[in-house]
């Protein structure tokens, strides 16, 4: 299975990682291709500002923090906080839990080099679980061999 993770919202990321971990648990090879806002999910730190970045790149890396918003009723950050509380209360797995499991289940992460270039992100800005830095052709080569391909 392959997933293009384009969105950078917590709820969409949870949906993607729920499917990724379930597929990996049933013996499928799973690859997630992180592009555009999806890269926020795999940033190491909340503010990923580095010296060589241009001013506009810095602004994108402040505004799009790795403390992820939710796609509806975000309320400037109150929404995610409430969502986390509710999820904890109902014992639903958090995004962090699911990402830890994804690593254990050998889900493969590819980061889009074009998006990294636009946002001024380098290898060191992203978590170590990213195994490849590549482009659309690498994704397509994986997707061609896969029966399930999702864009989230």
């Amino acid at each position: 299975m392959t997933i293009i993770l384009f969105s950078g919202e917590m709820d969409k990321a949870i949906a993607a990682f729920t499917l990724a971990t379930t597929a990996a648990s049933s013996g499928m090879d799973v690859t997630i291709f992180f592009t555009f806002w999806g890269l926020n999910i795999i940033k190491k730190t909340r503010f990923t500002i580095a010296k060589p970045q241009m001013l506009m790149q810095k602004m994108f890396n402040i505004m799009s923090t790795s403390k992820l918003p939710i796609s509806k009723l975000d309320f400037f950050g109150l929404g995610p906080w409430m969502m986390r509380k509710l999820m904890k209360k109902s014992k639903m797995a958090s995004l962090e839990d699911l990402m830890k499991l994804a690593k254990e289940l050998k889900v493969k992460y590819i980061a889009c080099t074009t998006s990294c270039g636009v946002l001024g992100l380098s290898k060191g800005n992203l978590i170590d679980d990213v195994s490849e830095f590549a482009g659309a052709m690498t994704y397509l080569a994986e997707a061609k061999e896969s029966k399930i391909n999702l864009f989230i």
């Binding site: 729920t18 648990s25 049933s26 014992k91 699911l98």
Partner: protein, 76 residues
């Protein structure tokens, strides 16, 4: 039938019961039976599908009130 092991997934939601089932089965020997307790209603459909996908044998899944009890044999 006496299960060799019991896995308690009560209170957990999808995808956790399936992932925990997989992880538990990885540590078991062929021929052993795993009992899984869960209360996420989706698990009633998900466990048979997981068995189909992985080739493990489903003995049965039964409902006792709100509690689901699944029994599977490790075939490989």
């Amino acid at each position: 039938m006496t299960p060799d092991r019991t896995l308690d997934c009560v209170g957990l939601f999808c995808p956790m019961p399936i992932i925990k089932t997989k992880q538990e089965m990885d540590t078991m020997k062929t021929g052993e039976v795993l009992e899984i307790l869960a209360d996420d209603p989706g698990f009633e459909k998900d466990l048979p599908e997981w068995c189909k996908a992985t080739g493990q044998k489903l003995i049965e899944i039964k409902k006792e009130g709100g509690l689901l009890k699944g029994y599977i044999t490790k075939t490989k």
